[in-house]
Symmetry: none
Subunit: 226 residues, 2 copies
Amino acid sequence: MRILLAEDERELSNALSAILKHNHYTVDAVYNGTDALNYGLSENYDGIVLDIMMPQMNGIDVLKLLRSNGVETPILLLTAKAELDDKILGLNSGADDYMTKPFAIGEFIARIRALTRRNTAFAPNKLTMGNITLNRENFQLSTDKASVHLANREFQVLEMLMLNPNVLISTSKFMDRIWSFDSEAERNVVWVYIAYLRRKLASIGANVEIKATRGVGYTLALIDEE
Amino acid sequence: MRILLAEDERELSNALSAILKHNHYTVDAVYNGTDALNYGLSENYDGIVLDIMMPQMNGIDVLKLLRSNGVETPILLLTAKAELDDKILGLNSGADDYMTKPFAIGEFIARIRALTRRNTAFAPNKLTMGNITLNRENFQLSTDKASVHLANREFQVLEMLMLNPNVLISTSKFMDRIWSFDSEAERNVVWVYIAYLRRKLASIGANVEIKATRGVGYTLALIDEE
DNA sequence: ACTTGTCTTTAAGGTAGGTTTAAGGTAATG
DNA sequence: CATTACCTTAAACCTACCTTAAAGACAAGT
């Protein structure tokens, strides 16, 4: 689950970022309106947190531009008490929720959960394909015979594949969704995790495999046995 | 057991807080309506005590907003005699009980017990798993061989684990329920108590263990012996 | 008010496991 | 057969977690 956090006060931004990370969100932090807009347009997020007062472009304008460009990602606006009028403006402009600063951390995380819940509401706890099951709560990958624990990155890669069975996913799509934008990591790292996953899939006797398409990316498919 | 206490008169608030703590409740005290609302929305409480006359937002409004946001935590309203009419209003708005000030301490604690009992009504006095038993009245953890006393925090952590056997509980969930809200350096305290509990579990020859899942949290499970 | 004992939190160093890099190998494509 | 893309492994690096000790809070008794 990936969140774009647009908040120019570094201290608050860092605090919120830490809290989100502890709650298993991946966070991209930006510190001004134009970055918020650019990153938001990529549609790689499950939720966007927008401060209203920001350098270069204010949150309301970012919000309007995102919506007018067809971005439907749920958005939570942060407003200082003095900007209360903006709230109505914000909600009219297509925000899904707002919070006035200062706020309790508990409320923040509760609202983020509510915001992203709509995406997960229909998402089952367990994904299956062929004879494998991926438990999204305890990160366990299993067949009826055996079971292994997946590390975070392994889990994220396999989850993405299982959410899109038989669909070709490009290496750069993996990079965009799973690794942060500011990551220097090479494409190679995707290959490495594909290799790890293949080994684990084989070790539990899975009847699905990760197929590579040269120059493009990967697909999760049932093993043809002929 | 966690209580949110919203009462703006400091002296009364402190007194009630002390009484609750003596009775093994964890208390978060707030002194105005908006804080009461914000904290209440986090849904981390087993009961909420709301004064009606408070700065910023009165208790009735807080109550209505909590209920309209789906919060079902039991709520006890405190009203001055002069505000008697509000009582009916409060109960209609979704309060579970009310008390008129001034009141006797004994009555207060009795009502809090009644309020929180519904959550514990089906919860037994003793929790067991594998060969261990946790006595929720005297904080004693025992096997048939030996027995140790648990301190408050130790007890709360283990209780949470035993109420959810084989379920992965995140470190931040522990922080939310047992400690006040998330902060970077202090997650450590959860680790410390996990360490203490592991030592005590081992010392009485328990056949259950606390397993860690890196990046996620902890699970209480029977020890595999192969 | 002082002491004492108990519980809670902080701090710091260590360890294991997770992540990324790097490098050499293999297979597909022209 | 040369090139490119991908695979695999291992080592380096990084982070989360474990453990212990000690400081800090708090309450009970003197």
